[in-house]
């Protein structure tokens, strides 16, 4: 009797039948995950492993690959152009992340403290609109508006008494423009994340603080910001991972220029792989990029324990 179970119908199941049912369930399980598993194997696991392997080879796509060990990586460490793109990418990640996350948090706190519902909805929608537009379209549009002599932006700046800015033609400004465009496109996304975090803060906390006579600033620094740290933590991780893979806006707007001022790692990787057919070298860049992202994420998670406030 111990080895049997009773079904809802009251039928007694022997161990043999249980095994048969378990087998059927397992078969069904494999059947249902089959499409996902197959795709995972063909388009992720096998490519990832061979991508890792490829970084150890010298291969031009057409002739036999030649095993070179870690030579690609030591070459990367000496490659001035690669180091330049790495620096560009890191700086972009730093500025775009702080712009997106910082401004997103600021805007979210502002929107959240407005009392009028219709205005809240309007603002949330307005800031989020650019997120649904493709980066290519955004970049093309800004390329037009930011022209130096005939662009709309410079016209209005000159009316304000500011000199025309070489938005895309000077190295320093091209980089800043790319960051600004990235913030324009993504800030609404982070605003949403922070708005969700703000809504999760129980209103009793604010009521209690009011009873204790806490002012606006104290409520902001002692309740709102500490309780937003999980959203902040999450946003920082997401933003950094995305920023390190940036490609499209530079590809469309500046093609890496002027000079190499806006060339990123992925842009160089793309050129090495599909322009010069240095497949092994490009693969080693991807692998290095992966380890950088991994290291940054792990570091953030480690440091997160110290400053993220978990309820």
């Amino acid at each position: 009797m111990q080895e049997a179970a009773i079904t809802a119908r009251g039928a007694i199941l022997t161990r043999q039948r249980i095994n048969r049912l378990a087998l059927r369930e397992a078969m069904a399980g494999y059947f249902f995950i089959l499409p996902t598993l197959l795709s995972f194997l063909v388009f992720f696991l096998i490519p990832t492993i061979s991508g890792l392997g490829m970084s150890l080879f010298d291969w031009d796509f057409f002739s036999e690959p030649e095993f070179v060990g870690l030579d690609n990586f030591s070459e990367l460490a000496r490659d001035k152009l690669f180091l330049r793109t790495l620096k560009n990418t890191a700086l972009f990640a730093l500025f775009a992340t702080s712009g997106n996350v910082g401004l997103g948090m600021f805007i979210a706190i502002g929107i959240n403290s407005i009392k009028w519902r219709w205005l809240k909805t309007f603002l949330r929608t307005a800031y989020f609109i650019p997120f649904v537009i493709s980066t290519v379209v955004v970049a093309l549009m800004f390329g037009f508006l930011l022209q130096e002599s005939t662009g709309v932006v410079n016209y209005y700046l000159s009316r304000l008494g500011i000199v025309r800015i070489p938005w895309l033609s000077s190295s320093a400004w091209a980089f800043r423009s790319i960051v600004l465009i990235d913030v324009w496109k993504h800030v609404g996304f982070f605003t949403l994340i922070f708005l969700a975090g703000l809504q999760a803060i129980p209103s009793e906390l604010y009521e209690a603080a009011l009873v204790d006579g806490a002012g606006r600033r104290v409520r902001l620094t002692r309740i709102t910001i500490p309780l937003l740290t999980p959203s902040l933590f999450f946003s920082l991780i997401i933003a950094l991972i995305g920023a390190f893979q940036v490609f499209e806006s530079m590809y469309v707007l500046t093609n890496g220029g002027p000079g190499d001022a806006t060339r990123t790692v992925v842009m160089l990787l793309y050129r090495e792989a599909f322009g010069s057919f240095n497949m092994g070298y490009a693969a080693s860049m991807a692998v290095l990029l992966f380890f950088i992202i991994l290291a940054l994420t792990v570091t953030q998670v480690r440091l997160g324990d110290r400053w993220v406030f978990y309820r």
Binding site: F32, P47, S50, G143, A286, T297
Partner: protein, 301 residues
């Protein structure tokens, strides 16, 4: 004297004129709101301004481009620039390609992700946990690591320069599987047991019990997938090399490369043609899109 004393007392303990005081209080709250809202409203204008200018310039004539101040409302609504787009490229083809790719990817993900989510949430099979952990870990790896091998696989499958190259690798997603697993785990066992008693197999439980309940997460997944597939640029850039197979984002770059298009009204017209369907999509699904993004925190990659 007495009256003065009583007045000051009443001032201390209760409002002189409750109605006026309330009004003043409301006025203050209104003002605080307005002061707070003003910079946010100005900021939101910055979000709209580029779109408005794009629309304005798309109707403008070439000589207006150098007219200062640039007109916010064009002097005439001429469609020359729009004709220019269709003269230079097969824009409709780009659009249809985008529709086909995005439609197939979204439909495929709804099926595969709900199947996978159901299995991971409700079925027991050896290796379930480890497979799921591997799935999750894969979300951390940037797609560029897999780029070259996937390129070789796609060529091997004969999908190079074929819309299939943009569909097959995206036919399922770890994120979607995860989203639906989370949802299916919340469905009470009783529903499934009742179906089992009625003699339903797993396929019937999935189809008749689970899917009809999964409307909201499926809608979220559909909208997020639609958006990221519609805007995908990197993949087409690598796998598509002939104009008749291009999707909209790649087609835009192709159009820019045509004679006399760079930074012209024609390009703006094409941008507007891109914006219109996206903004309609946004209007219709705004609420669910916002919900989905908040829920998932997914950066549309």
């Amino acid at each position: 004297m007495i009256s003065a004393a009583s007045t000051s007392q009443s001032h201390l303990f209760q409002p002189l004129d409750p109605f006026r005081d309330k009004l003043r209080h409301q006025w203050r709250a209104w003002l605080a709101n307005a002061v707070l809202a003003l910079p946010l409203i100005l900021g939101s204008l910055l979000m709209f301004a580029p779109l408005i200018w794009a629309v304005s310039f798309s109707f403008g004539q070439p000589h207006e481009f150098f007219k200062l101040p640039p007109p916010v409302i064009p002097s005439s609504f001429r469609l020359d620039n729009y004709h220019g787009v269709f003269e230079r490229v097969d824009f409709l083809r780009f659009f249809l390609n985008s529709v086909v790719v995005t439609g197939c990817v979204t439909a495929a993900q709804l099926i595969t992700c709900s199947m996978g989510g159901y299995a991971f949430a409700r079925l027991r099979f050896p290796g379930r946990r480890i497979i799921f952990i591997l799935f999750l870990a894969s979300m951390m790896v940037p797609q560029h690591v897999t780029l070259i091998p996937v390129f070789i696989i796609i060529r091997g499958l004969g999908l190079y320069n074929n819309l299939g190259a943009l569909i097959v690798p995206y036919a399922t997603s770890v994120f979607g599987t995860f989203l639906l697993k989370q949802f299916f785990e919340t469905i009470p066992d009783e529903l499934e047991d009742a179906a089992k008693i009625d003699g339903a197999g797993f396929l019937q439980i999935y189809w008749r019990v689970m899917l009809p309940l999964a409307g909201p997460p499926l809608a979220t997944l559909a909208i997020l997938t639609f958006n990221s597939s519609w805007n995908n640029f990197f993949w087409p850039l690598i796998f598509i090399n002939s104009a008749e197979k291009m999707t909209l984002p790649l087609g835009m770059i192709y159009l820019r490369g045509q004679d006399g298009v760079t930074n012209s009204g024609v390009l703006m017209a094409a941008i507007v043609l891109n914006l219109v369907p996206v903004l309609i999509f946004f209007m219709i699904f705004q609420r669910r899109l916002v919900e989905g993004v908040t829920l998932s925190g997914l950066k549309g990659a």
